[in-house]
Symmetry: C2
Subunit: 222 residues, 2 copies
DNA sequence: CCCTCCATTACGGAAATCTGTAAGGACATA
DNA sequence: TATGTCCTTACAGATTTCCGTAATGGAGGG
């Protein structure tokens, strides 16, 4: 089994929970903790210099801003940076993210080894994931496995998310178009925005904008 | 120090984290866990019947829905029900909720003994809270201490909540008016509904209906 | 090269939203 | 009783939403 593990997670209680699971559930005791990305990176580099390498990184994706200015603010940057100093490091991401396309991206772009959704039953999932990754497997979360064949995945791209974000802030389509134009983001015509939102209505079976935002909020996508 | 503690929190990892903090940070070892409100309630009743009472309940507020139908779905109901069988039980709420008025409500209506905000530094807060509550203190989170004087509490009645509910389901004001009339709920004119919603705009500083629902969803009121 | 598909864009009209003004009634208070 | 406040209701006008149709243009397949 893995010997030396780093847990990067800004919420202390969750951090402690992961440590406890690794301890009690898997029998890993050489566990180091980091609450900030930069901290995690420094710990990795030090271990590298000392020749006492980590075997596994378990990291969150989002880290709250800190009083001290951090260079890295997301787990993605952390993983990229750590890979430059230790390319073969095994990585498990433990995060709230539930958008299939985004999780997929982690596997494809960052070649992470496992993903565990923060959720009610993450203990079992986490244990299975660590074991699987140790055996060299790629451990995809159940959420993603279910949706692999049934392509009912509502694939929201960044533009859709941007629109939803703006709508939930109470901006009108006219205002959104203006914002997009000022930021040089395309497409940015009112009619395209209109069409896109209509498509989201279809996707989520929403009756109107308000309904759409309510649904998306409930799904935790926003 | 407290001897027997129940931790009610649906997210396993967070649950484990709390247990570890109580263990390592405070030295409490007789800790029981529950992932669902009903489960917590049953454990309390059993302890009560056995005469081996709990000294402290640490509970979350929101619990995700379960495949099994749960009677209680929120920590608030749990606390109310547990108080009926053990009125003097000490209660600490550990939750994401950050709205001062809602937290205040917990202290006033439910007479909870302590509140800890889920956050980056909850370990220290949790330890201090448990210690404070043990000494008979009422432990208010730092967040609330700041806002004690500025009492900008928004008071929503059932009618407001009903409107928000309907809006978030995508019904138009015309439809809502029709529904209210068919259910003999007054007031039910379109104009009053309109006015009420406008008042909610003011209360929540919302720009339009969509914005309003987004805000209210974020606040966890819906 | 042509054809199809799809995204972007424009436009128009019916419906809904948002924001005023205003009138009538309930209720408390001086 | 008179007065002020608040809630309910009505109405009207400007704006926005929602949902069609339609023109344009790029990507990809035959």
């Amino acid at each position: 089994m893995f010997d030396k593990v780093l847990v990067a997670e800004d919420y202390e209680i969750a951090n402690q929970g992961i440590v406890k699971v690794l301890n009690d559930g898997i029998g890993i005791h050489n566990i180091h903790e980091a609450q900030y990305c930069d901290d995690a990176y420094l710990k990795f580099r030090k271990a590298n210099l000392d020749g006492d390498l980590f075997d596994l990184l378990i990291t969150d994706l989002s880290f709250k801003e800190n009083h001290k200015k951090q260079i890295r603010t997301s787990g993605i940057e952390l993983i990229e940076d750590i890979r430059t100093i230790q390319p073969d490091i095994k990585v498990i991401v433990y995060s709230q993210e539930s958008r299939p396309d985004r999780i997929n991206m982690l596997f494809e772009k960052l070649a992470i080894n496992g993903y565990v959704c923060k959720g009610q039953h993450s203990v079992k999932e986490l244990i299975e994931c660590v074991n699987g990754v140790y055996q060299g497997k790629k451990v995809v979360p159940p959420l993603l496995r279910d949706h692999l064949d049934t392509n009912t995945i509502i694939n929201l791209d960044d533009f859709d998310m941007l629109l939803l974000e703006e709508l939930s802030c109470g901006f009108t389509k006219k205002e959104i178009a203006a914002t997009l134009k000022s930021k040089n983001i395309t497409p940015n015509s009112e009619s395209t925005i209109d069409k896109r939102i209509s498509r989201l209505f279809d996707n989520f079976k929403a009756k109107n904008t308000t309904h759409l935002v309510a649904i998306v909020k409930d799904l935790g996508l926003l």
